[in-house]
Amino acid sequence: MLRILCCFILLSACSERLTPWAITVPGEYKNLTDRNLAKVRALPEPTWPIRIALMGDPQGTPHDLDQVVDRINDREDVSFVLVLGDLTDYGLQHEYIWAARALEKLEVPALTVVGNHDAIAHGKLIYQDMFGPFDYTFSYAGLKFVMFNNNQFEFGDTDFSWLQQQIDENSITASHIPPVVDAHREEQVELWKGNNSKAQILASLHGHRGGKTDFFSFEEGIPYYVVPKVEGVRYSLMTINEDRSIRFDLCHHTCSEEK
């Protein structure tokens, strides 16, 4: 009996979680956006073409996320990774920590946008503490990456005026929900796409659809790319050439360009 009790005490020391609704973030996983932006600024001078790995919706598949991280680490040509939302299924602390631990293993910086599932329960507070602001921008190789929150069921109407102020012909935008009419109203989608067309942004990147394959459309010269859900070793690769042309490839064990 004493032996059994000792085993449980040891186990408890490792896995004593008090409540499902805790919002505390361990110090090593705080301010991850700032810390990864510092890593982007410290990257060596870029050489064309630039390759950026894209993944989305890793919630509920912690092992697959780990495998995708390993697969990206195997490449030597990826500058950084964009995670297009839904790191968690229920916005719970333990899910956030699973995701942060996996992304921490990446050998290149990882930047995230918040997904609708990340905002459930107390997820908004955990996201802000763990990553940082929901909307932010950064530059790399003369490109401006505009990362924004458009989960309007959870946050209220998307601030398209902020987005409009940020974008120009060197911009690549990233948000969780693609410009389709489900979470957004028709007039919002028209406004959003109209602003993108006026600014002639380079690409619009999204997650949320959760499918097994990527979804690509080309509207008024702008590629709209939706990553599939992280599953197995699946991720996407965005290749940007010096002339600003962009190619997307879906990668499993190999990428589509290598098939």
Partner: protein
């Protein structure tokens, strides 16, 4: 802490006057809270626990109050009933938190069935209950949330100690005099 004392007083009054095998339970963690108090029933095969738990802001980042309900199935008994014995069990239950940021019923802005209730976390339990004497027993328990079943379905990537929560409980049987 005032909540815990108030609940303890009510439970004490109720359990001490009960005629059946009603236990007063005190539990730490196993997702039920830093400190949880409640009532339980233990039969020869089945049992049930209801707990009110509290975790202070200092430990959870905000003040968390929760209710826990568990149905338990005692698999077998090692030792003799009524004496010192050990009983392993499996259980099914849920945690509920009455928090304004959480919901049981999906708010109006969402399409039908968009999310499951965020205020309710179903869970699986397993544990060992040790009868110490006629009045006192103690349990060690492992609780696994529905959200953690992802780890079971998609095993790997997460260390075993990042999944589930272990809890300890002491049970006092008022009717064992």
């Amino acid at each position: 802490m005032r909540h815990i004392l108030a609940v303890a007083s009510i439970l004490w009054a109720f359990a001490s006057s009960a005629q059946a095998d009603v236990m007063m339970n005190v539990q730490h963690a196993g997702y039920a809270g830093n400190a949880a108090l409640g009532l339980g029933y233990v039969g020869s095969t089945f049992g049930a626990d209801a707990l009110y738990g509290w975790t202070p802001k200092r430990l959870a980042g905000h003040d968390v109050q929760s209710l826990t309900l568990k149905g338990l199935w005692y698999l077998f008994t090692v030792g003799h009933e009524g004496e010192m014995n050990v009983r392993p069990y499996l259980g099914l239950g849920a945690f509920y938190s009455p928090d304004s940021d959480l919901f049981l019923q999906l708010p109006d802005q969402y399409p039908k069935s968009y999310y499951v209730p965020s205020a309710l976390r179903p869970a699986l339990f397993t544990g060992l209950r040790m009868q110490i004497n006629r009045s006192f027993s103690a349990s060690v328990e492992y609780a696994l949330l529905d959200s953690e079943l992802a780890y079971v379905k998609n095993k790997g990537g997460v260390a075993y100690n990042q999944v589930g929560s272990v809890g300890f409980a002491v049970h006092y049987n008022f009717s064992a005099e």
